[in-house]
Amino acid sequence: MNLFSATEPQEDALTIGQLAFQIKRVLEADPILSDIAVTGEISNFKAYPSGHLYFTLKDDEAQVRGIMWRKSVANLAFRPSNGDRVVATGHVEFYGARGEVSFIVDNMRFAGQGALAEAFERLKQELASEGLFDTERKRPLPDMPRCIGLITSPAGAAAHDVISILRRRWPLARVLFIPAAVQGFDAAEDLMRAMSWAAAVDELDVLIIGRGGGSAEDLWAFNDEDLARMTAEFPKPVVSAVGHETDFTIMDFVADLRAPTPSAAAELVTPDVRDVQAFVGSLRHRLYNAVAGDVELARTRLDSLRSRRVLTHPQERLRPVREALQSQRTRVRDAFSRRVKIERQVIATRRAQLQALDPLRVLERGYALVSDTTTGALISSVQDARADQSLKIALRDGSLAARVSDDSASTRND
């Protein structure tokens, strides 16, 4: 009898390692557990620097540890977060060293539109309550951007569409393309990297960020909370251009302007060069018109001047002239009268001189003046006289009547 037999290992007992191995063998041989899709809600989500993801998948009844290895993370179209209801595909493994059963996830997608909407609403409510979507935050776009940033995938059609439209519409544009991953687990992070680059470009006037259409998971990076916050803080106006017209992302709400598609974004940020040319033309037209108006105005002003009192009643305008004329006239008259006075003196002098020659003055000295009584003609020669002629002899103090006798005539013989 072995006293200690009860405590000795029995031959049929397994080691823990053997047990774990057995569990693992059974679990992993199960055809169902080796390839299944599981619906659950994510919690305790943790992305490790190694690139592996650890989380819990749960529902109301149970929970299972979920692991997504780095190589599988590349399959993810989006970055899952706590509260997301997902469909995870993968297989079950038993990890003996920790005694844990894990669901090794190859890929995840949202568990239907409802789950997507839930996750979307959750974040949307949170950011809205912080005021990130407020209209007052929206900045106006520049009318004529010189430098336009574009963040999108280099692989997609969106880049090509946006770039060719920008080029066609606005030749003054300098388009700065910043390629980034737009879908997948790292997309949000890469978009933020691109955005931080864009923020460093001082000349940038406006930023377009977006991608072409895709599944809800494909667009999920644009629902990233950190990216949304970064967009709100971006130094220049941001135009979101994600997917199709019917797709809405958090980015659309936080951006300064949401464009329904990438092509539409290109048209929203640029004027059409033809419109601008037409505008310059219209300004030129108005310029000429305005000056023509001014010339017209000047003419009208001239007309109104013409009809003014000065011109319609020129006497008023002429009064000073008339007064000047008057004084001129007075001066002329004064000058004239002075002149007249002088002339008078001259005349008086002349008259005195003439008086000296006056024949009557000669009579004073005893001479006589003989004239025919009837004709008054002066008789200065005997030849002028005839017999019986009546003569008037003017003397100093009067005159005598005389008659020429027949033989009284005698000629002086000198």
Partner: protein, 94 residues
């Protein structure tokens, strides 16, 4: 705006020239200026409009890509336009 308006216009950005042209037109349309001033503004306006038209006529958009150097510095690289650039209206893939 004294003399050398020509030289100034050449240096003006398109938008600044357009804005000034707009202001010149507005000033002329508002009136209250002398005929002499009107004619001076007309000259200025014509210079600006000519400059705008010339800028638009000779402009060509450029495309650059922002890249990081090995030292972590950001720099731009000129990319040539893809000249068979017909508008593909398919924005469906990313």
């Amino acid at each position: 705006m004294p003399s050398k308006t020509q030289a100034q216009s050449a240096d003006l950005s398109f938008e600044a020239a357009l804005r000034e042209l707009d202001e010149v037109v507005a000033a002329l349309e508002a009136g209250h200026i002398s005929l002499e001033e009107s004619l001076r503004l007309l000259q200025r306006g014509i210079t600006l409009a000519d400059s705008c038209d010339a800028t638009l006529a000779k402009a060509e958009a450029t495309l650059e890509q922002l890249v990081a150097t090995s030292g972590g510095e950001l720099t731009t690289q000129r990319i040539e336009w893809d000249d068979d650039d017909e508008d593909a209206e398919d924005d469906d893939s990313a």
